[in-house]
Symmetry: C2
C-alpha cells in the first residue's frame, strides 16, 4: 500500500483538526511511529505540508506552524485580490448555471448540522466559487489560502447569528453572480472577506489567553 499519501493526508488532518497544536514540535521519528510508515514517506509529507504552510522548519527540526495574526491579515488582502478576480471572471461567463451547485452546498447546512460541517462548507463555498471562474491558478490560490486560514477559522468563536450573517452574505454574492452583476458581486465579496477577517482577528485576539492555555502558539508577527 502506498503509505505516502496516507501519511500526508492523515498528518494534514491532524494538524488542521488541531489534534496537533500550532507551535508544537514535530520529529520525523514520532510521525514515523505514529503512522507506521518509514521516514521516506514522512519526509515527502513534511515537504508537501511545508509548501502548504502547515509545518515550517524550526532551525534543525520541524514545527507545526503557529497561528500568525499578521499572516491572517495579509491573507485577507490576498484573498480579496484573487477571489474578486475569480468572481468577476465568473460573472462574465455566458453559462453561470453552476452557481446552483454552490448554492446547494449552502442549503446542505441547517440548524441540526454539526459545527464541523459548517466550518468545512464555509471554506468550500469560497473554493468552489473560485473554481467556477475556470482559472486554475485563481482556484488553487484560493484553495491554498483557505487551507492556511482553516485552523484559525476553526479556533474562531462563532455564534449562530454570525454564521447566519455569513450565510446570508454568501447567498447575496451568489445572487449577484447569477445575475451577472460583476460589480455587485465583487463589492459584496470584498465586504464579506474584510468582515470575515475582522471577526476572525478580533475573536482570536480576545481568546488569545485561552488559546495559549491550550498550548497553541499564537504570534502577532
Amino acid at each position: 500500500m502506498s503509505q505516502m499519501q496516507n501519511v500526508e493526508k492523515q498528518l494534514r488532518e491532524m494538524i488542521l483538526g488541531l489534534e496537533i497544536g500550532p507551535g508544537e514540535r514535530l520529529t520525523e521519528r514520532w510521525i514515523e511511529s505514529r503512522f507506521g510508515a518509514s521516514r521516506t514517506p514522512v519526509r515527502a509529507a513534511l515537504l508537501r505540508l511545508e509548501t502548504e504552510g502547515l509545518v515550517c522548519r524550526d532551525g534543525r527540526g520541524w514545527t507545526v506552524s503557529p497561528i500568525n495574526l499578521a499572516e491572517i491579515e495579509q491573507i485577507a488582502v490576498y484573498r480579496e485580490a484573487i477571489e474578486v478576480a475569480a468572481v468577476k471572471l465568473t460573472c462574465a461567463l455566458e453559462d453561470r448555471s453552476a452557481v446552483d451547485v454552490v448554492e446547494a452546498m449552502l442549503d446542505s447546512c441547517d440548524a441540526g448540522t454539526p459545527r464541523e460541517e459548517w466550518h468545512r462548507v464555509g471554506m468550500d463555498f469560497h473554493i468552489e466559487l473560485a473554481r467556477l471562474s475556470g482559472n486554475e491558478f485563481l482556484f488553487r490560490a484560493v484553495r491554498d489560502a483557505m487551507t492556511r486560514l482553516s485552523r484559525a477559522r476553526w479556533l474562531e468563536v462563532r455564534d449562530e447569528a454570525a454564521l447566519g450573517r455569513a450565510w446570508a452574505e454568501h447567498r447575496a454574492i451568489l445572487a449577484a453572480v447569477r445575475a451577472g452583476d460583476a460589480n455587485e458581486a465583487a463589492h459584496r465579496l470584498s465586504a464579506h472577506i474584510v468582515g470575515s477577517r475582522d471577526r476572525l482577528v478580533t475573536s482570536l485576539h480576545n481568546d488569545r489567553r485561552g488559546l495559549r492555555a491550550r498550548g497553541f502558539a499564537v504570534v502577532a508577527a
Copy 2:
C-alpha cells in the same frame, strides 16, 4: 556538504535554462548520477520543483513540464489580478521611495547588456514591484507565476524594438506608482500584462514548429 539545496538549485537552473527540454523525461537515477547526490535529496528536489510547476508526474516517473499555451493564457489573467492588487497597495503607501530601487534595475540594462540579463531583469521587475506592496502572499504569487512563465519568455523571439516598448511600459508604471496614481498604475500594468501575453503566445505559436524541432514539447491544452 548539504547536497539537497544544491541538487534543487542546479536542477532548477537546468530546467529554466532549457538545458533539459520541456517534455523531457527525468529519472531519479539519472539526476542522482548527474549531480553526484543520492536519491533522498533528489526526491526532495523533485517534490519542490513539482510545486513550482517545473516538473510533473508522468504516470510512474517524472517529466519536465511542457510549455502549455493554455496555462500561459491563464497565468496572464492570474497575474493581472495579483500584480494589479499589489501595485494598488503600493500606491496607497505613504513612503513609495523604494520604486527608485526598481527603476535602477531597469537602468542597469542598455544596448550592450546580454539578452540573458534583459530576460532576468524583465522578470525581476515584476517580482520586485510586487514586493513593494509589503504583502508576502501577493509577492510569492507573482514570483511563482514569473517562474512558471520563465521558460516560455526565454523561448520568445523578441526584437530590440519589443524590448524597448516593454521597458517604456515598465517606466510608465513606475511613474504612476511614484505619483501615487493607483488607477493609472493599475491600468498601465494591466495593459502591459495583456500585451505581454499576446506577444508571448503569438511568438510561441508562430515558432511552434521550430520548438518541436528542438525537441521541446509545446501543448495547446
